[in-house]
């Protein structure tokens, strides 16, 4: 009888519920990477996560560790309090660009500025996915969305916000990296960055954020392959991937 060898298995930190995200959406991959890292760091039992308001509000269906919801944009605040109450636990929040860069801007900046020892995973899909693809602060110049039918006009809506570059000068911020998920090498890099952010918390380094450029094929009206191509050619042109800050 041939001996079975496990090459790959579903991370323990994922439930048996299949992802319900759209075809080609970056949330599924980001969720899975986080679950894999939590398994690798052997910390499923000490994780407390905060889900955003946005498509990923359903993260708690897929992650098998403690998760709370938070009001739209307030995830880092809820995470702050949980971490202060349980400094020995691992606390992260997971937020979209509408959540983190628009309605939650003040929360993001003050949490970062206080240097809270939490990890933030920031999913930038350049629009409001859950509500049907409206313009976000991160929508590219000229990007057509349901509320910018003629393309984002900087005279009316300003320029896309680069959150990591905005947070970078704050002294409480220790680690900022932007990643994408468009091919295997970039997924490997993304995983490395998220893992570093998580280890930073475990070693009490302080506030870390990883921005994930993430495809939203359904709202971008592009098939997943073209969506990834658009990230490679246009989105990462404006939001350059790589380390923005590392004083760990």
């Amino acid at each position: 009888m041939a001996k079975e060898r496990v090459i790959y298995k579903k991370p323990e930190s994922l439930t048996d519920v299949p992802f319900t995200y759209c075809w080609g959406c970056g949330h599924s991959m980001a969720h899975k990477l986080i679950a894999e890292i939590i398994d690798e760091l052997d910390m499923r039992e000490k994780v407390i996560a905060v889900a955003p308001v946005g498509c990923a509000v359903f993260a708690y269906d897929f992650w098998d560790f403690d998760v709370t919801e938070a009001a739209h944009g307030r995830a880092p605040v809820v995470a702050t309090a949980i971490k202060r109450v349980h400094p020995d636990k691992f606390v992260f929040c997971y937020q979209g660009d509408g959540d983190l860069a628009s309605i939650g801007m003040a929360e993001t900046i003050h949490t970062a500025n206080r240097g809270e020892n939490i990890s933030v995973i920031f999913i930038n899909n350049t629009n409001y996915g859950m509500t049907g693809g409206q313009m976000a602060p991160t929508s590219l110049i000229s990007q057509v969305t349901t509320t910018s039918p003629y393309g984002r006009d900087v005279k009316n809506a300003g320029y896309p916000i680069k959150m990591l570059e905005l947070l970078s000068p704050l002294q409480g911020v220790k680690y900022l990296e932007r990643v994408k998920l468009t091919d295997v090498p970039s997924i490997v890099k993304a995983k490395k960055a998220i893992k570093k952010a998580f280890v930073n918390q475990l070693t009490n380094v302080g506030f870390s954020m990883v921005e994930v450029l993430s495809a939203c094929p359904a709202n971008w009206k592009k098939d997943p392959v073209k969506a990834n191509k658009w990230i490679d050619e246009e989105v990462s042109e404006y939001f350059p991937v790589g380390k923005i800050k590392d004083i760990t």
């Binding site: 098998d64 307030r74 605040v77 109450v85």
Partner: protein
């Protein structure tokens, strides 16, 4: 053993919270409650808890949400405009069934208003934000009660897994009074287990705190489950105080908080003139002690409702009595505080 202490109302809130085992406080400056975050910034670290000066009331209430989700006894305090900013968070907490204590030291409104005492946030406390929910609302009328009600609010919040509001006002916050503190009293539920709290999924599957229930019918069921809780609270927690009811009064004053305190002077003035007036003081504004009020008003000729607003609680008085014909309302909005004689003048003109 009790000790006497000359203390400001806002400080009494802090003492009570610390004594009740509150170990997480977040607050943002706003007059007339600034002494609370100020004193808390000394007391909380000393007690080994967490003090955070929030950068807005949105941050205050969501910090309290997180601390409650993590199982801590948590509190925030503010005054009227700040409480407005907390409404979304309070609705989330009620939906997620998270306990916490929120103190509103009310000031004049609407808008930025002023920093004089007011009771115009009655609606905001007892008929709050979005969705079907309630918050137990306690109205102190002296500084002993600022301490006692705040102390007791933490057990109430834990018992029902629901936010509890202390509805005070600028006068109660700023006043100094001798109060009697029973420092031997222990909070009942401080060490009661909170199996729903998020503490890491040790030896179990992950658990959730959420109010989002998207499947058809599930949210409706959740609301009915919450209603059972509101019904239970309504049955168990109504509190009120009667004054001068033994005299078989011909007239009844209904007032809460500072106005009830003033009305006690009014009753004395009236009785010196041979007019018998009683006082019904609701202590819980939600649940409103409607049956008790109906009973107290049964044999009186008139019911005088006095508030520091244009008339908010008076709506609940009408609902309780089911008949508005006996009710006379007098209110001072925008920071006006009535004097005992002023209320007596109002009564005298309407008494044969």
């Amino acid at each position: 053993m009790s000790e006497k202490e000359l203390i400001k109302g806002n400080y009494a809130v802090v003492e009570a919270a610390i004594d009740a085992g509150c170990r997480f406080y977040a607050g943002y400056p706003i007059t007339p409650q600034n002494e609370i975050p100020e004193y808390m910034s000394h007391m909380m670290p000393e007690a080994g808890g967490t003090f955070i000066q929030a950068e807005s009331e949105l941050i205050s209430i969501n910090l309290v949400f997180g601390a409650a989700a993590a199982g801590a006894r948590a509190m925030t305090t503010s005054s009227s405009p700040g409480i407005s900013l907390m409404q979304e968070g309070l609705s989330y907490m009620a939906g997620c069934e998270l306990p916490a204590v929120i103190v509103n030291v009310m000031r004049g409104g609407p808008g930025l208003g002023n920093i004089q005492p007011s009771q115009a946030d009655y609606f905001q406390a007892v008929k709050p934000g979005h969705g079907d929910y309630h918050m137990i609302t306690l109205a102190p009328h002296n500084l002993n009660e600022m301490y006692d009600y705040t102390f007791g609010a933490f057990d109430l919040a834990d018992r029902y897994r629901n936010p509890v509001i202390i509805l005070a006002d600028g006068l109660l916050g700023q006043l100094m009074e001798n109060i009697e503190l029973d420092r031997t009293k222990k909070p009942e539920l401080l060490n009661a287990p909170k199996p729903w709290a998020l503490t890491g999924a040790r030896g179990r599957h992950g658990q959730r705190i959420l109010s989002l229930l998207m499947q058809p019918g599930v949210l409706e069921k959740h609301n009915f489950k919450l209603k059972e809780k509101w019904d239970l609270i309504t049955k168990n927690e109504q509190k009120f105080e009667l004054t001068n009811m033994d005299s078989n009064p011909d007239y009844l004053i209904v007032a809460f908080g500072t106005v009830a305190r003033v009305a006690k002077g009014t009753i004395q003035k009236a009785s010196a003139d041979g007019i018998k007036v009683g006082l019904f003081r609701p202590i819980t504004l939600w649940p409103y002690p409607s049956e008790a009020l109906k009973e107290a008003a049964k044999n009186v000729k008139k019911v005088f409702v006095f508030e520091m607003s244009l008339g908010q609680m008076v709506e609940d008085v009408k609902l309780a009595l089911g008949d508005a014909s006996k009710i006379e309302f007098y209110g001072r909005p925008g920071g006006g505080v009535p004097a005992a004689g002023e209320l007596y003048e109002f009564i005298k003109k309407r008494v044969k």
